[in-house]
Amino acid sequence: MNTRHVHAAQGLGLAAFVSSLEYLARSGAVGRITLVPPSEMGTTLVNLLVSGEITGDIWQTFSVVLGAFSLAVLVGIPAGWALWQSAELKEILDPFIITYYAIPVFVFYPLLLVVFGFNRLPILLIAFAMGVVAVVINTANGFEAVDQVYLDVGRAVRLSRYQRFRHIALPAALPYVFTGLKLGFIYSLIGVIASEFILAGSGLGYLVSNYYTTFNTAKMYAVMLFVVIVSVAINQTLLRIEGRLYQHRVNA
């Protein structure tokens, strides 16, 4: 099976799925309150985007995602590096990292809401808390994967500590660090959308839950479609870059 066959099969599968939804909606087998035809989801989405009705919410959502993600990177990469530097520290903190991973961070959202009030801060904190752990762990894993021989060679040719980091450890760890960044971004996005969906006054997640409770089915599906398209596009781009980084590592 070559790439063209694979893409054809994927395209056919998607087309079959979308047209069966279209048929279900148009034939009246499923009522309009429950499902609108995918073609109408598309046109509604275009109208929403062109009229500027949801521009503010798109901006709201992605500014918080970017804020939380930047914080996760600023905290996560140095923390991951520190864990690699001190084996003893890593050994001591290991149970805590494991414990942190196990906690469903999102359940703290109601608590943060009553402590910090009904604003964007609780959403930012949840998204940061969900994103940072992937950055820390994958950064630490990445530095650990650096072959000791290379570091020894660096020491033998008298590279400084910084030079060893810049020219040996960092390039070798980069693909893993990138995996952490990819997951960090995706988890931050999930955190923001979920918080907005459960309780917020603006943002894409809020729009979907609000259109749902006001029976505005066409607009609800339009925004849903938008979130799915955007998150798949982001993920697909990050997966490509990631694949290339690992490929580069293998070839080098």
Partner: protein, 269 residues
């Protein structure tokens, strides 16, 4: 002998030193929480003792949390089982068939990255407000990590093992039991843990948004009436459930690592 005895002594000293640091860190965390409570007032942020008190009162003494607690656990168990079954089958099939994997892997990876909460209304349309809907939404969250982790594990089985299995003419079941299972055991534990954690997230999310019972519902009600002790108590119970179950998974994982020499790589998820 001498050296060995010396090593053991040194190791146990290091272990206790580490454990002392860990206990110190936990005590610091609790003291920090308590200090924060003192700073902003118990009315704003209930302290550790009060929180544990509310949790025990809700489950054991007065029991206002008990029925919802049981309901959430039932939904969680149901969705975990569905996620493991469905995700497991998808993972094994895609892991062992190259052509199917080429077609379906992008769908699997991309769906994992979509904020699934956005599709929640669809689940409400199909399953209404009962426990079926909670189970379905929880399972929807848990299935993808299970399938992805298992798919990658099956794909990594060395070709030589498959060749030997074929030359011995093992049946399909024998193949699964003696070739596939032993080599995917470690990733399987990780997959089960992720399936559990994400199913739990799915169940809680669905209870927070629309449910007639469950811990998420009490949490939502407590949020609506700004009942801080209840919010703390229920959050505490949810976190404790997650921790207890995860510790069991970790126990199994450590056992495999020490006794079977199987190490588990958790990167990439």
């Amino acid at each position: 002998m001498m050296a060995a005895a010396h090593d053991t002594r040194r190791q146990s000293f290091v272990l206790s030193y580490r454990n002392a640091s860990r206990i110190g860190a936990v005590v610091l965390l609790l003291l920090g929480w308590r200090a924060l409570t003192a700073l902003v007032g118990a009315a704003v942020l209930p302290g550790p003792v009060e929180t544990v008190g509310v949790a025990t009162e809700g489950i054991i003494v007065e029991g206002w949390m008990l029925a919802n607690f049981v309901n959430t656990l039932a939904a969680l168990l149901g969705s975990f089982l569905v996620a493991v079954g469905v995700g497991g089958v998808i993972g094994i099939v895609l892991g062992s068939r190259e052509s199917l994997r080429a077609v379906f892997e992008p769908f699997l990876l991309n769906t994992y990255a979509v904020p699934k909460i956005i599709l929640f209304p669809v689940f409400l349309f199909i399953f209404q407000f009962g426990i079926d809907q909670k189970i379905a939404f929880g399972a929807f969250h848990g299935t993808f990590p299970m399938a992805i982790i298992l798919m990658n594990a099956v794909r990594e089985i060395p070709d030589i093992h498959r060749d030997v299995a074929r030359s011995l003419q093992l049946s399909r079941w024998q193949n699964v039991r003696y070739v596939v299972l032993p080599s995917v055991l470690a990733p399987l534990i990780v997959g089960l843990r992720f399936a559990f954690n994400l199913s739990f997230l799915g169940v809680i999310l669905s209870e927070l948004f629309a449910a007639r019972s469950g811990l998420g519902l009490i949490l939502q009600n407590a949020l609506g009436s700004v009942n801080r002790p209840y919010i703390m108590g229920v959050t505490f119970v949810i976190v404790v459930i997650a921790l207890l179950v995860n510790f069991v998974f970790y126990g199994v994982q450590r056992y495999l690592e020490f006794n079977w020499g199987i190490s588990v790589d958790e990167g990439g998820m």
